[in-house]
C-alpha cells in the first residue's frame, strides 16, 4: 500500500516535469518526436496521461500522438525494466539469425517480446536496424551493444546483469 502511494507521488512529480518540459513546445505540431522523446526520458514510458499532455500542448489529436508512438519501436507504452534489451531485426541481423537469438532471450527471460519480467529487471523489445550491421546479429542492453551473437551466448550475457 505504502509503495503504491509512493509510486503515485513519484509519477505525479514526473508528470509535473513533463508539463514544464512541454511549455517550450506549445502549439508546435512539428515538435512531436522531440516532445515524446523527452517525455519518455522523464517518465520512462508513455502512458495515456503523458500522451494527453503532449496532444494538448502541441494542439494535435491524441490519435496522431498514439499513432506516432506505436510506429516507432523506440517509444514504450508500458513501463520498462531496469535493463532494456533490444534485439535488432533489421535485414542484416535477420538474415544472420536474429530471430533465433530473440527466441532464446524469450526462453531465458520467460517473457514475450514487448514485455517486462515480473521483477522489473529486464524488458525485451525488437527494433529496426541499429547501424551495426557488420556485427550482425546484434542486441543492445541499455547502451551496450553485443554483436556476432548466437543463441548460446545469450545466458552468459544475461549473467552480467544478475
Amino acid at each position: 500500500m505504502e509503495t503504491a502511494v509512493k509510486k503515485d507521488a513519484e509519477l505525479e512529480e514526473k508528470l509535473q516535469k513533463v508539463d514544464e518540459m512541454l511549455e517550450k513546445y506549445k502549439g508546435q505540431k512539428g515538435a512531436l518526436l522531440q516532445a515524446l522523446q523527452e517525455a519518455q526520458g522523464i517518465v520512462g514510458y508513455l502512458p495515456l496521461e503523458v500522451q494527453k499532455k503532449v496532444a494538448a500542448a502541441l494542439n494535435i489529436t491524441l490519435s496522431e500522438v498514439y499513432s506516432t508512438i506505436t510506429f516507432y519501436s523506440f517509444f514504450n507504452l508500458k513501463p520498462r525494466g531496469k535493463y532494456q534489451i533490444r534485439v535488432c531485426l533489421g535485414t542484416a541481423c535477420y538474415v544472420r539469425g536474429a530471430n533465433k537469438v530473440l527466441d532464446r532471450l524469450e526462453k531465458e527471460l520467460g517473457v514475450k517480446v514487448g514485455d517486462t519480467t515480473d521483477d522489473a529487471k529486464f524488458s525485451l523489445d525488437a527494433c529496426r536496424c541499429v547501424g551495426a550491421c557488420g556485427l550482425a546479429p546484434t542486441i543492445i542492453i541499455n547502451d551496450e551493444v553485443y554483436g556476432r551473437l548466437t543463441p548460446d551466448k545469450v545466458p552468459e550475457i544475461l549473467k552480467k546483469y544478475e
Binding site: L48, A55, T61, L62, S63, E64, S67, T70, F71, S73
Partner: protein
C-alpha cells in the same frame, strides 16, 4: 495560370503547371486506376495502383502525386505498369477477407471492381493474414479490419474533413491497423458517429450498424402500429440506389415504396422540420429580444451535437434546446398522434429513414423519451432502406407516384431545404422575418446562405434589426466558426452548423459514391440543387404556413415554447470527455 504540355500515351495534354499526372490523364480521358486516391481529400500515393512509366525515369511512379513537367512523356499502359498493378492488387487481396458475396459492399466495392478490371484470376501470394478485428460497440458505425486495405481515406475524412481525428494508422508494417487509440472501440473515443469514414471507404471495412432486422420484426408484428418518417435528404438520394441519376428527385416514389414494405402509416420528417422552425425560430426571437445567450446555434445535426459535447462544451448553452426533427417527430407521434388515433403509445413503433449514421446514436440517447417512450425506435440509413426494398423485390423506379399520409406527412418547402447546408437557416429566416414584421417576405430565397462554400455569412435586415448569420458544413469548417465565436472575433446572432459536407445530402448514411463518381461530379452540389428544386415545387414554402403544424399547436401544444412544447420538443446536452480513460 502557367500551363505545361506533356504527352500521355502519345496524346498531347495541356494542363496547369501545378497539376499531377493523374489530373492530366483525367483531363485527357485516359483512365488510370486508383484505390487510395480521393480527390481533394486523400492524395498520398500510398496504394501504388496508379503507377505509370515516365520516359527517362528509373522506377514506376505514382501518378496521383507525380507533378507534371514540360515535355514529360508518360505511359500508363505498358507491360511493366500492368504487371506492377497486378502484383500490388494481388498482395492486397492476399490479406483481404474475401467474403465478397456476403459483404455489405458487394458490387459497390472499389477493390472488387479493380480486380475485375485488371483481370485478376488468381492470387499468387497466399500468405499471412491479419487477425480479424471487429468493432461493433458503436450504435452507428462498425469497423471490420479484416477488409481494410490501409488506404487511409477514412483517416483523411476524419481528420481533415471533419476535424475530429479519432482514427489513425496505429503500429507499423504488417501490423498496421486503422483504429482509435489503444485499439479502443469507436464507442469509447470522441467519435461523433458522422459516418464520413464510411463514405470514404473503398471497401467494406467501415459500414453502418445494420438495424434492418429490428424493422422487419416490427413490421411482422401484428400488435405493433409501425409508422415511418423520411428525412428531407432521402428524396434526392434514394433514387441513386436504383439506377437513377445523382440527385434524382423521388419524393412521390418514397411513400409508395414504404407502403409496400408494410408500414401502417407513411409520414414525413419534413412535417417535424416545419415544427422545428416554429420552436427554434421562437427560441431565437426570445433570445434576441430578451438578452438570451447568443449566438444561437442550430441543433438538428446529431453529429454536430456530439462534436459540441466533446470538443466545445463551453458552447453548449449556445445550442438551441430544440430536439432535432427526427426526435420531435417521435415525441409528437407517441403523444398527439397516439391520442388522436386512439392508439396505445406503447404499441407505436417509430422508424426513421435518415441520411445519417449519427441519427442512430441520437435515437438511443436516454433523454429522448419525454413521452414516456423512446421517441424513435429505429433509425435506418438511406442505404439500409435501399437494402430492405431490394430484399422485398421493390424497384423504386417502377412504382407509381403516391402521397404521404395525414397529418404528420404534410410539409412545406422550408422543411425540404433542411436537407442542404444553409437550409435550416433559410427556413428559419423565412418564418422569423414574417413573424417579427407581420409583413409578407417579397423574396423568400436567401441565396447568400446556399451553396457548397464551407462557411457562408450574411446580414439580414429584419425591420431595422441587423441579424448576422453564419452557416458552416463539415466539422473542420465548423471549428473555424466556433473558434472565432470563442475568441470573441465574430458577432453572429444565429449560426447553422451541419456535421456533414453539403449538409444532410452528404450525410454518412447516404448512397456511397466511389472515388471516380465523386471526382466527376460534386454530389453536394447536385443533391443540394435537387433539394432547392423540391422547395420550388411546393405550394407552401414557409413553415408557419404548414396547416398540420398549425392544427398541432391549436389542438395540442398551445403555442411555440409552451410548457408542453418544452417538455416534448426540447432537450438538454451533456459535456463529454475529449480523451478516453483507459
Amino acid at each position: 495560370m502557367e500551363m505545361v504540355t506533356l504527352t500521355i500515351d502519345g496524346q498531347k495534354v495541356e494542363v496547369p503547371k501545378d497539376s499531377t499526372v493523374l489530373e492530366a490523364a483525367h483531363k485527357a480521358n485516359i483512365r488510370i486506376p486508383t484505390l487510395c486516391f480521393l480527390k481533394g481529400i486523400n492524395e498520398i500515393g500510398a496504394c501504388r495502383m496508379c503507377v505509370v512509366e515516365v520516359k527517362g525515369g528509373k522506377a514506376l511512379q505514382a501518378a496521383c502525386v507525380l507533378p507534371v513537367s514540360e515535355g514529360m512523356e508518360v505511359i500508363t499502359n505498358s507491360p511493366a505498369v500492368r504487371e506492377s498493378r497486378k502484383v500490388t492488387l494481388e498482395l492486397l487481396l492476399s490479406d483481404h477477407n474475401l467474403e465478397c458475396p456476403t459483404c455489405v459492399r458487394n458490387l459497390n466495392c472499389e477493390l472488387q471492381k479493380l480486380s475485375e478490371e485488371l483481370g485478376i484470376k488468381s492470387i499468387r501470394y497466399p500468405g499471412e493474414k491479419h487477425a480479424p478485428r471487429y468493432d461493433d460497440f458503436s450504435p452507428s458505425i462498425v469497423r471490420d479490419a479484416s477488409k481494410c486495405i490501409l488506404c487511409r481515406r477514412c483517416v483523411s475524412a476524419c481528420h481533415k474533413v471533419q476535424g475530429v481525428g479519432v482514427i489513425s494508422p496505429n503500429h507499423r508494417g504488417f501490423n498496421t491497423v486503422i483504429a482509435p487509440v489503444f485499439d479502443l472501440s469507436l464507442a469509447e473515443v470522441a467519435c461523433v458517429n458522422c459516418g464520413q469514414c464510411i463514405m470514404a471507404c473503398p471497401v467494406g471495412a467501415l459500414k453502418e450498424k445494420d438495424d434492418t432486422d429490428r424493422v422487419w420484426q416490427a413490421l411482422a408484428d401484428p400488435e405493433k402500429h409501425v409508422i415511418v418518417q423520411t428525412a428531407p435528404a432521402i428524396r434526392v438520394s434514394l433514387g441513386e440506389e436504383f439506377g437513377e441519376g445523382m440527385g434524382a428527385i423521388v419524393t412521390k416514389k418514397l411513400p409508395a415504396a414504404l407502403r409496400r414494405l408494410g408500414f401502417d402509416k407513411v409520414f414525413d420528417t419534413d412535417f417535424s422540420a416545419d415544427l422545428t422552425i416554429m420552436e427554434e425560430g421562437s427560441e431565437f426571437l426570445e433570445r434576441l429580444q430578451h438578452g438570451g445567450k447568443l449566438p444561437l446555434i442550430t441543433s438538428c445535426s446529431p453529429g454536430w451535437i456530439k462534436f459540441c459535447e466533446h470538443y466545445y462544451p463551453e458552447l453548449l448553452d449556445n445550442l438551441s434546446t430544440c430536439k432535432s426533427p427526427q426526435q420531435m417527430f417521435g415525441a409528437v407521434a407517441k403523444t398527439y398522434y397516439a391520442e388522436k388515433m386512439g392508439i396505445d403509445p406503447s404499441k407505436i413503433f417509430v422508424v426513421s429513414i435518415m441520411p445519417c449514421t449519427a441519427k442512430k446514436f441520437e435515437a438511443q440517447r436516454p433523454e429522448m423519451n419525454s413521452s414516456g417512450y423512446q421517441d424513435v425506435d429505429v433509425a435506418l440509413t438511406t442505404r439500409e432502406l435501399s437494402r430492405m426494398l431490394k430484399e422485398a423485390g421493390i424497384d423504386l423506379s417502377k412504382l407509381p407516384d403516391e402521397e404521404f399520409d395525414d397529418p404528420l406527412g404534410i410539409s412545406t418547402g422550408a422543411a425540404a431545404i433542411f436537407g442542404a447546408t444553409g437550409g435550416v437557416m433559410e427556413a428559419a429566416l423565412r418564418t422569423v422575418y414574417e413573424v417579427v414584421t407581420g409583413k409578407e417576405l417579397q423574396n423568400i430565397d436567401f441565396t447568400e446562405v446556399r451553396g457548397v462554400e464551407g462557411i457562408k455569412e450574411a446580414t439580414i435586415d429584419i425591420d431595422g434589426t441587423k441579424v448576422n448569420v453564419a452557416v458552416a458544413h463539415g466539422l473542420a469548417n465548423a471549428r473555424k466558426v466556433l473558434d472565432r465565436v470563442k475568441n470573441g472575433e465574430a458577432n453572429y446572432h444565429f449560426i447553422e452548423i451541419m456535421c456533414c459536407p453539403g449538409g444532410c445530402v452528404g450525410g454518412g448514411g447516404q448512397p456511397i459514391l466511389n472515388a471516380e463518381e465523386r471526382w466527376a461530379k460534386d454530389y453536394r452540389e447536385v443533391r443540394g440543387n435537387a433539394i432547392y428544386e423540391v422547395d420550388r415545387s411546393m405550394k407552401l414554402r414557409k413553415s408557419h404556413e404548414n396547416p398540420a403544424v398549425q392544427t398541432l399547436y391549436k389542438e395540442f401544444l398551445g403555442k411555440p415554447l409552451s410548457e408542453k412544447s418544452h417538455h416534448l420538443l426540447h432537450t438538454h446536452y451533456t459535456k463529454r470527455p475529449l480523451y478516453p480513460e483507459v
